[in-house]
């Protein structure tokens, strides 16, 4: 898929993602400080506007860099800066790509996940966004292109797994086992984003 078309699709999905604001606020309030709903909704709004303002000849790296900067701009939280930093690093890793082909998608997910892990000092199992991103990267590495529905199922399984994890990072770590039984908000946000991609464009190969 050409970069400009992907940007439009992602912008539409970001409009839809703002519907998850209250759910993410509640999940985060159960284990963290409750600002995740605002962070994701404000970030998604900024991303949609920034991607729609891109020039039609924008490349893959432009889309990722602009999206990363815009997501972090929405609300200056650690989650926003981590995800934004992951996307900007993904832009560097895909600098030569002209389209969101399977190899590019694989590289961007892997780079975003490894950058977030390094900067956040966390690993899969710490009850973070990585508990969805790493399984997604593994799924893409095993078989790509992967149908979007399959990626949604992978993300959903990752979110469910976080309900039994004790938080190790971020403000959620302060409450420790109080977060048990509730899925991680950051991981849930990725799932909701993939579902929004599905509902705005139907079945697509990623």
């Amino acid at each position: 898929m050409r970069a400009a078309a992907a940007a439009t699709w992602v912008a539409d999905a970001c409009d839809r993602l703002t519907d998850a604001k209250d759910e993410l606020t509640e999940l985060d309030a159960a284990a963290g400080d409750g600002d995740l709903g605002v962070t994701v909704a404000a970030g998604a709004t900024e991303v949609a506007a920034a991607l729609r303002a891109l020039r039609p000849d924008a490349g893959v790296a432009d889309v990722l860099r602009v999206a990363g900067a815009a997501f972090a701009r929405g609300n200056p939280s650690s989650f926003a800066a981590l995800v934004g930093g992951g996307l900007v690093a993904a832009a560097r890793a895909t600098a030569d790509a002209v389209a969101f082909d399977p190899a590019t998608v694989r590289a961007l997910v892997a780079t975003a996940a490894s950058t977030i892990a390094e900067r956040g000092g966390s690993a899969p199992g710490d009850r973070t966004v990585l508990d969805v991103l790493v399984p997604l990267g593994d799924a893409l590495a095993a078989s790509s292109p992967a149908p979007l529905a399959e990626l949604v199922a992978t993300a959903s399984a990752g979110v469910n797994a976080t309900t039994t994890m004790v938080p190790a990072r971020g403000r959620a770590a302060w409450v420790g086992e109080r977060g048990l039984g509730v899925p991680d908000g950051g991981a849930t946000a990725v799932l909701r984003f993939l579902q929004a991609l599905g509902s705005t464009r139907g079945e697509q190969a990623a």
Binding site: R65, A69, S78, A81, G84, G85, V88, A89
Partner: protein, 299 residues
């Protein structure tokens, strides 16, 4: 965001700093000749945005690159790292160095996890002077790392800060209690106990600070006694006197002692003592001219 008037002089590395508000004169007060070129701040005890961080980096870059000098706090770091990525995509050279001087916040084997507190003031002074004499970005980074490696701080808190966002104290502490090792956001320290005389408190702080600096007869040091917001200058000078006596007894030459409010925590009562082990080069950098409306000319 605040930028030095006229920006970074041509041919000099730009110095950028920033973080949450609530610590004046940190961070806004350290912008000026011989100090930082630009600063980005967030709300009280909240990280600066990546947008403000990027704007500060751009404003400070005269074409010779930018050193971002910040305290070791996750939100501050993540937003400056993102800003550095975006600045590098524009072709700018950016390096981030984190100050982690608070000995109470992690043991020596995890020194990189320590918080940055008042000792960052020594780094501003030496790094600002290195930039002003025309050092390259790599050389300014080396001065920053050397200054930080030679700086240790420890603080004591006697009352909590009331956060404007909640209207409540950031932690509970009795009127007859103190907490040794407290952070500048009220992070828990090492020991909570009954109040003791100022000299005893100074000894506690200095024992931890000096244990890691290896100062002895013939060495030279600078001392910074910092009020956290609600402690009087008279009390700070009592701590400074004890620090001077302790270092002199070790045979250490106290090159200069700074006493005042350099990195506060709103209206928290308490103080911190920072010590910088000086060599000839750091002494010259520390003594070089620096000027800002919010900090003493002597810095």
């Amino acid at each position: 965001m605040l930028v030095r008037r006229g920006g970074t002089p041509a041919g000099q590395v730009g110095i950028v700093t920033g973080g949450g508000s609530g610590h004046l004169p940190l961070f806004l007060g350290y912008v000026g000749p011989g100090l930082a070129s630009a600063v980005a701040v967030g709300n009280v005890f909240s990280a600066q945005s990546s947008d403000a961080a990027l704007a500060a980096v751009r404003a400070a870059d005269s074409g010779c690159g930018v050193l971002v000098l910040i305290g070791n706090y996750t939100g501050d770091r993540l937003n400056f790292e993102l800003a550095a990525d975006l600045a590098e995509a524009e072709g700018r050279a950016v390096r981030i160095v984190r100050v982690a001087d608070d000995v109470a916040s992690a043991p020596p084997e995890r020194a990189g996890d320590r918080r940055g507190v008042a000792g960052i003031v020594f780094a501003y002074s030496c790094v600002g002077a290195a930039a002003a004499r025309g050092d390259s970005l790599e050389d300014v980074v080396a001065v920053a790392e050397r200054t930080i490696a030679a700086t240790r701080t420890m603080g004591v808190g006697l009352s909590a800060t009331v956060l404007p966002t909640t209207g409540r104290p950031s932690f509970e502490i009795g009127a007859d209690e103190m907490e040794i090792g407290i952070g500048i956001h009220g992070e828990p320290g090492r020991v909570r106990g009954p109040l003791r005389p100022a000299d005893d408190i100074a000894d506690d702080l200095l024992d931890s600070v000096l244990a890691e600096l290896g100062l002895g007869a013939g060495s030279r040091a600078a001392v910074l006694v910092n009020g956290l917001g609600a402690t009087s200058p008279e009390e700070l000078y009592v701590l400074a006197r004890r620090a001077h006596h302790r270092l002199s007894a070790l045979g250490v030459e106290v090159h200069r002692t700074l006493v005042g409010e350099f990195a506060t925590s709103m209206e928290m009562a308490g103080a911190s003592i920072s010590v910088l082990a000086l060599d000839d080069e750091l002494t010259a950098l520390f003594d070089a001219p620096a000027d800002s409306p919010l900090v003493p000319r002597s810095l």
